[in-house]
Symmetry: C2
Subunit: 207 residues, 2 copies
DNA sequence: TAGATTGTTAATCGATTAACAATC
DNA sequence: TAGATTGTTAATCGATTAACAATC
């Protein structure tokens, strides 16, 4: 049902809608109006209706939106029911944190491999997935191409690792390095922690 | 020199400008034109000039921008030379990763305290800062009010911890919990890892 | 039916881009 | 001086908000 083009701004809001809807569902709230949801989320009701209408009419006049139905529609739009294969490269502090913090299956992914260059880690298992040496990257990726790679290696290693991945066919990255990854044929979602912190520092200044 | 209102969109770009300028500086490039920078950053030259002009004329016609000067101006605008006090609450996987991954002093902060409820951690030291028990939070925060708190506790604990912090005077948060923090008198910068991952999952679907 | 609330169009607002005069 | 490039104004584009007719 995804007809018209959906703007990046709307897409960024979808996960947040999903969080609130899941929460409402947990509290066994069956229906919600755009008005009530706007109060809870600190958005305008207008924006909520516009956003939901990019995809088709999920509401009902005079009634509002059915929480469970809407929740499942958004989950489907995001592609969550269908799991894409992902690998994680760099099982240091940040890699460990991601592995333990994120439930991949609930976010539409399946973790298939972990890579690191630390001999002490290679061969061990983290969250049920074996850690392989980074030297085996090309061979293993060629045998079973992942849909995405999580980049949690130190900055110094990032360019090289990402380039190798791209060369052997990986075209999507969840990037935690402070480097900007950019390829014409690839999808990149970056989490620049330092940038986020500095943004906060700026606003702290203006008070 | 910060006269006119600076939009959130511009502020979000400042750290990225700084990263590129630092990189240019490292390579000993002395001057850069908006045109050349736009190529490197994949922005328009027009946007770059608009952005830099929110704060005052840092360039020179016919020459461009002095890399080092611009770099220092932006660092100053962000407030980096002046360190604000921050505490970190929740020294689990994610907390550890942040502590080891972020150089606070380079981002305008100074880490003063760490809190956790794990007895095995309390009393130990991480990145040179002692871990205190969460029960001591109110007492210690009252004695030395931090400018900001980093929230890396599990979701279940987040509401309570944040509320306690807010009550004893903390009015800025770097939030890693999947909860939305919202107070009229507080500044919140959230890093919603799950949201970021789902956004990526969406775009992976549309290809 | 009357009341509530959506879906959708139109108006507003803000951000990005284009253009060019100012000036180094 | 001539050429380059900024600072700044105007035009465009896109996103948000307001309004209201459609309809459950």
């Amino acid at each position: 049902m995804e007809k018209q083009h959906v703007s990046a701004a709307v897409v960024r809001r979808l996960p947040r809608y999903l969080r609130y809807l899941n929460d409402l569902s947990r509290r066994e709230i069956v229906r919600i109006s755009s008005e009530e949801l706007s109060r809870r989320m600190a958005l305008t009701a207008s924006q909520i209706r516009q956003d939901f209408n990019c995809f088709g009419g999920y509401g009902q006049q005079g009634y509002g939106y059915n929480v469970d139905h809407l929740r499942q529609e958004i989950a489907a739009i995001l592609g969550l029911p269908n799991q894409k294969k992902t690998i994680l490269v760099g099982a240091g502090n940040l890699g460990h944190a991601i592995l333990n913090h994120i439930d991949f299956s609930r976010h539409g992914f399946k973790l298939t491999d972990i890579y690191d260059n630390n001999p002490a880690l290679v061969g061990t298992s983290l969250v049920g997935v074996t850690v392989h040496h980074i030297d085996d990257l090309e061979q293993r990726v060629a045998a079973d191409l992942p849909d995405m790679a999580i980049i949690t290696v130190p900055r110094a290693a990032a360019t090289d690792v990402v380039d190798r991945l791209h060369t052997c066919g990986v075209k999507a990255f969840w990037n935690f390095s402070s480097l900007d990854i950019r390829y014409d044929d690839s999808l990149v979602e970056s989490v620049h922690l330092g940038d986020s912190l500095m943004t906060l520092r700026y606003h702290l200044e203006q008070r």
